[in-house]
Symmetry: C2
Subunit: 240 residues, 2 copies
């Protein structure tokens, strides 16, 4: 087995607003990223640290460079990000892949991977995109594609996080066949008790089956539902 050593570096090129740098640090920590490279950043003032919240260590450990070339020198694979990409086949420079596809493809790459984000106002220059191995596009409204810097980082890292550490929620064991049929038996008993019209019955039972099919109740929810149903049936029987 070959072990893949993959390390990500968020590179902000000439960020102008220190609040954005702080917001980027926070969202990096939210998705388990920690390496921040800054090229000619604005002053990292109070605003930066207050927006970073518990991620101030990422700011403190950020590496600062005075040129793009110096920042990318030790990175093996460079990914430029943009919400503006071309559809033209002839313009190789701005040809992009979608961020979700990128997040799956990157699992084949190892080494030190730089995620390059451009200026708040002018994005990345062509001379910078030229040096990148890949251009990644974040899908957005065509009417207003320009994302806030920290939002662009947020979506990129969120997609990477999903690929690198697929999340799951413990949903609890689902109902088995016997439990499911028991539930429908009780529902059918309830319809008996309330003298539900015979001609509507079949359709209603199918509808209940569909509703519960979509809801996919867990074991615990099943027991609660069964409790309610049997309680209701008992109550009606007693009242008769």
């Amino acid at each position: 087995m070959v072990l893949i050593a993959r390390e990500f570096f968020v590179v902000l090129v000439e960020p102008k607003y220190s609040g954005n740098v702080g917001a980027v640090a926070r969202v990096m920590m939210n998705f388990d990223f920690s390496n921040l490279y800054l090229v000619n950043p604005c002053e990292l003032d109070k605003d930066c640290f207050s927006r970073a919240m518990h991620a101030s260590s990422i700011i403190e450990n950020a590496k600062i460079f005075d040129s793009f070339e110096k920042a990318i020198k030790d990175l093996d694979f460079l990914v430029a990000t943009s919400s503006v990409a071309t559809d033209s086949e002839k313009k190789h420079l701005r040809k992009a892949i979608l961020v979700e596809d990128f997040s799956k493809k990157i699992l084949e790459v190892d080494g030190r991977i730089g995620l390059i984000f451009g200026r708040e106002d002018f994005g990345l220059y062509n001379s910078e995109i030229e040096k990148c191995d890949l251009l990644v596009k974040i899908p957005t409204s065509e009417k207003y594609p320009s994302l806030n810097l920290s939002h662009a980082v947020c979506i990129t890292l969120y997609n990477l996080y999903l690929s690198l550490k697929p999340p799951s929620l413990k949903t609890g064991r689902r109902l088995n066949h016997v439990e499911k049929e028991k539930l429908f038996e009780f529902l059918s008993l309830l319809l008996d008790e309330i003298e539900y019209p015979e001609h509507k019955r079949k359709n209603t039972m199918i509808m209940l089956r569909r509703i519960l099919g979509r809801a996919m109740p867990s074991k615990w929810e099943y027991h609660t539902l069964m409790g309610i149903l049997s309680g209701t049936i008992e109550k009606i029987k007693k009242m008769k």
Copy 2:
């Protein structure tokens, strides 16, 4: 055919920082959402509008309510959002589904759908979550799950945008079989011309096929590559 009328409302419950409200408005416009409901918001000052950028109309048209109950009164389906959810089966209140699954499931729902986001510091109260039809969890690092408000909105709307309007990039027509074989014929001719060692040849040709397979060049890229290859082969032939 049944037409589904589905409208989304972003509901911010007691937002404290006006910059966050502005950032939320901007990201709403980035993903083609426009209805903003605010429950007891902070003052919508200069900071709010400067962060909203071109989305100031969303702020100007936002509906303001003085209680959560009033805000949700005309909404048909309520979705609470959280990056903190429980795994316990017994706590129905905080049982959640993942935001990507939610974005697919919501395509079955019509009506006025409220996406409810809680306070920056305390999130949503249990009494508010109780009134919601669904709790949606945004997957994050367990070490630092607390997302900035506008980042939480950003990821939720991004996922909905992908489901509602699946994006695609025109990638151009791919190579057909004849073009592909022509390319490998030229690569093979090049190996001839440079007297590439016979015993390494087969493996190298396979490697080239794999590289181009992964790169999936378009028609235009193909013509450029063929131009380079034929130019190189001609050049070597002439020099002989």
